[in-house]
């Protein structure tokens, strides 16, 4: 029944509310996934780096061992040419130092352990090797000589900030140890010579004692981080040296940072958009709820209305009707919506009128104060409605139709009609009573002298019959005459009362008073569906009393209207024609009523003669009296088309 039907639910909202968990859950999963991804990738990264570190360190250790082993071999190959003179030794040492072996000093000990040659010679007297022994270490010498194998000594400080250790390589000739070649490694230099640059860039590599003391470091940057480091045992001397590497904190790869950052940003964006979406949805829901409530409120309001509402678009098509309207006309909304004129509820007898007002409304020229119309119910009953039309404006301010509100005023009209009839009845009764009262007064006034005359005359006759002398009778007769005069005066007084003086005559236009008299009858004429054909051809100016003339015309119109009580509705018409000729205005009032029976035609103008049950028989008498008082003439004849024609001839004003 409405323009649209919204779902009647608040429950749907709650039924689908759990769906809100989904995006939240999804978001949490998403963020968790991203975090996990970042964490695993970071972890994998770390493990990979550690693996690299371990392999690097293992390689480095290998490399160092290779260095040391090669140096051992080279030292073991020292020959006589080198050990016998200083120059040869020096060249041998230079060769040894030449290929970055990490060696910094070569010492040649003879079989007794005496230092025979050394290069470079410069010895620091404060140097103490082998945990307090002299340099080179006696213990290592002995061990090497007895074992016949290279022996490494314990590391000892060299000057204040460096450490060095020795390798004692026994040299044999023909199965006999002839001496021991001692190579001195300076730890810092060993690292510098054996650790390649690309490794040094990645890690801080140090050699530590088993007590954790750092003996030497190859490093470009100082780093405090040690926990991530890796230590691998490096045991050339057999005294617990180890290689320790700490990876420098290499900056994370830009791509990874970007990826993480973008993931975080994306997550934020998703969160934000989700929040926005939710806020939007919530607001939208609130608005929808409000709208639904508003709609329900309006619907309840319009459904409870007694006023019928009907909306039409600009083409006159019905687009909406409310229940009150349906009740009023008896048609269901489904059968009315979409209908175009003529509407099923238009009253058959008023189709033209209804169509005209319909077109006027659609053209925007409808009466602003509303209009009355007759509608037909589905059961044929005709109702009176009062309609107000208002333009329909859509949300964009565009005028797209008309909304009509309808009030059923049938009862009101009937009541007013009844009241009017009651009023008429009262008036006519009041007139009758007044007239009866007047007639009674007149009768009394006349009865008194007549009764007196009668008594005088009877008495006189009685006297004369009894042979009384005539002289006794005369006074009674004189008195009787007096009473007869009195009666005559009463009658004269009544005449003067009834006769209107000509004082109130004025120049009037007959046409205007025809209109005025018709206006007095307007309700009756409309209620009975009578057509009035006006043919006023002349501007008839006459001298007369407007009130009396209007009364006379009113009487004639009323007779005409009432005579058509039994005429078929489509034939009910009154023709009024006014023409001027020969100094006379000729007014003809023709009805199509019951006509005048020939038997009563002669008595028609007699006072107190009436053909109507409730009539007084004064109407036509008054009319004639008024017309004659205006020096005119009232006559009638049968209407050739049925009914009666009354003619009034009135002299035109002499101008």
């Amino acid at each position: 029944m409405g323009l649209s039907t919204p779902s009647p639910s608040g429950e749907r909202t709650s039924r689908w509310r759990w769906l809100w968990i989904l995006p939240r859950l999804a978001f949490i999963l998403f963020v968790g996934g991203v975090a996990l991804l970042l964490w695993t990738s970071d972890r994998a990264d770390k493990e990979e780096r550690r693996a690299t570190l371990i392999s690097d360190m293992l390689w480095l250790e290998q490399n160092l061992r290779f260095h040391l082993t090669r140096n051992e071999e080279l030292l073991g190959r020292i020959d006589l040419a080198h050990t016998t003179n200083a120059a040869g030794f020096e060249s041998f040492a230079r060769t040894m130092f030449g290929f970055e072996s990490g060696l910094r000093q070569l010492i040649w000990l003879d079989a007794d352990g005496t230092v025979r040659l050394a290069h470079p010679i410069t010895m620091d007297p404060s140097l103490v090797g082998d945990a307090g022994e002299a340099v080179p270490s006696r213990q290592s010498f002995l061990l090497a000589r007895s074992l016949g194998k290279p022996v490494y000594g314990k590391a000892y400080p060299y000057f204040t900030n460096d450490w060095q250790f020795e390798v004692h390589v026994p040299v044999s000739r023909e199965g006999r140890v002839v001496g021991v070649a001692v190579g001195v490694y300076r730890i810092r230099d060993l690292l510098g010579d054996s650790v390649p640059w690309w490794l040094a860039e990645r890690y801080r590599i140090s050699i530590v004692e088993d007590s954790g003391k750092v003996l030497g470091t190859r490093s470009k940057v100082e780093s405090a981080v040690t926990d991530e480091g890796y230590q691998v045992g490096f045991d050339p001397p057999g005294w617990g040296l180890a290689l320790h590497a700490v990876p420098y904190h290499a900056p994370r790869p830009v791509a990874s940072i970007l990826l993480s950052a973008s993931l975080i940003v994306l997550a934020m964006v998703v969160l934000w958009s989700l929040w926005i979406l939710r806020r939007h949805a919530v607001r939208r829901q609130a608005v929808e709820e409000q709208l639904r409530q508003e709609y329900a409120f309006r619907k309840a309001m319009e459904d409870s209305l007694d006023t019928g509402m009907r909306a039409r678009n600009l083409d006159g098509e019905i687009i909406y009707v409310n229940p009150a309207f349906c009740r009023m006309v008896g048609w269901p909304a489904a059968e009315l919506i979409g209908r175009r004129p003529p509407m099923p509820y238009w009253a058959d007898d008023h189709l033209d009128e209804t169509r005209a007002i319909h077109d006027r409304v659609l053209a925007g020229e409808g009466p602003g104060e509303g209009f009355e119309l007759k509608f037909k119910r589905r059961n044929g009953e005709v109702i009176d409605v009062l309609i107000h039309e208002a333009p329909l404006i859509d949300a964009h301010g565009k005028h797209f139709g008309w909304m009509g509100s309808m009030v059923d005023i049938t009862e009101r009209k009937q009541a007013s009609e009844r009241a009017r009839q009651q009023q008429d009845h009262l008036q006519s009764t009041a007139r009758l009573v007044a007239m009866g009262e007047m007639a009674s007064s007149i009768a009394h006034e006349l009865n008194q002298p007549l009764a007196a005359i009668s008594s005088y005359c009877t008495g006189a006759a009685n006297m004369l019959r009894n042979d009384s002398p005539p002289a006794e009778v005369v006074p009674a007769l004189d008195k009787a005459v007096e009473q007869a005069k009195r009666a005559g005066q009463v009658i004269r007084r009544i005449y003067s009362l009834a006769r209107h003086s000509n004082d109130r005559f004025e120049l009037i236009s007959l046409g205007e008073h025809i209109d005025a008299a018709l206006a007095l009858m307007e309700t009756d004429i409309r209620n009975r569906g009578i057509r009035i054909n006006l043919d006023i051809q002349a501007q008839a100016l006459i001298e007369g009393d407007p009130v009396l003339l209007e009364q006379a015309l009113f009487n004639l119109f009323r007779n005409a209207v009432e005579s058509m009580r039994d005429t078929a509705p489509d034939q009910r018409q009154i023709s009024v024609a006014l023409a001027c000729a020969d100094h006379y205005a000729r007014l003809t009032i023709a009805d199509q009523g019951c006509g005048i029976d020939a038997s009563v035609a002669d008595k028609l103008f007699d006072p107190l003669f009436t053909t109507k049950a409730e009539g007084m028989g004064m109407g036509l008498a008054i009319c004639r009296s008024v017309v004659e008082n205006h020096r005119g003439r009232l006559s009638f004849e049968a209407n050739p088309e049925g009914g009666t024609m009354f003619h009034i001839l009135l002299p035109l004003a002499a101008t």
Binding site: S440, A443, H444, N447, Q448, P449, L450, A451, A452, I453, S454, S455, Y456, C457, T458, G459, A460, N462, M463, N466, A476, K479, A480, E482, Q483, R486
Partner: protein, 205 residues
């Protein structure tokens, strides 16, 4: 003799005068009154004759005067004259004891005849009333014992029976009987019965 006077009450002097003249032409004595009040001041229960009464008059109306007269127990026959008479008013007036109700215009001599009839009726009534009043006076002269005895005489009882009933001597009854006849001016029980009949069957008290 005032007993046969016809009283005319009408506010119209011409009508009064004409009616007086009419009655005079038939030798009926009449007296005119301008208003109901004037007549009411004069009226008494002894009035005899007839009253010709106009209904519509300024001041007290004819109907009202009629009611007042009845309140005074004046039995004067009343003939209403009216130009405005209607059936209910006439019926009520006649029920209340009016002699007649005549609408104007009327036949004058017929009116006079009606007046004469009313006067005659009133005369008979007054004569009858006078004789009853006389009889009542006579009965009133009897003593209580005499009235008791008279009742039994009228019942046709013998002296002996009466003496037994009253517990007195027959001789005493005879004395009472002669006293009764004397006072009632009759000579026999039959005469007594006839004389007492206008009083009806009601026993004298």
């Amino acid at each position: 003799m005032s007993g046969t006077t016809t009283h005319i009450v009408d506010d119209d002097p011409a009508v009064r005068d004409a009616l007086k003249w009419l009655l005079q032409s038939r030798d009926v004595e009449s007296r005119t009154w301008e208003s109901a009040q004037e007549f009411l001041a004069f009226a008494s229960r002894d009035l005899c004759g007839c009253l010709l009464l106009d209904v519509r008059m300024p001041g007290m109306s004819g109907i009202e005067l009629f009611d007042r007269l009845r309140a005074l127990q004046c039995r004067l026959p009343v003939i209403f004259l009216t130009g405005h008479g209607d059936v209910p008013m006439a019926v009520q007036a006649l029920k209340d004891g009016a002699f007649d109700f005549i609408e104007k215009p009327y036949d004058d001599n017929a009116l006079v005849d009606k007046i004469l009839a009313a006067v005659d009726q009133d005369n008979k009534r007054s004569i009858r009333e006078n004789s009853i009043r006389l009889l009542e006076q006579k009965v009133a002269q009897l003593t209580h014992r005499e009235q008791e005895v008279m009742q039994r005489i009228l019942a046709g009882k013998l002296n002996k029976v009466i003496a037994d009933e009253l517990g007195i001597a027959m001789r005493t009854v005879e004395v009472h009987r002669s006293h009764i006849f004397e006072k009632m001016q009759v000579r026999s029980a039959v005469e007594l019965s006839q004389a007492i009949s206008p009083l009806g069957n009601k026993p004298p008290n």
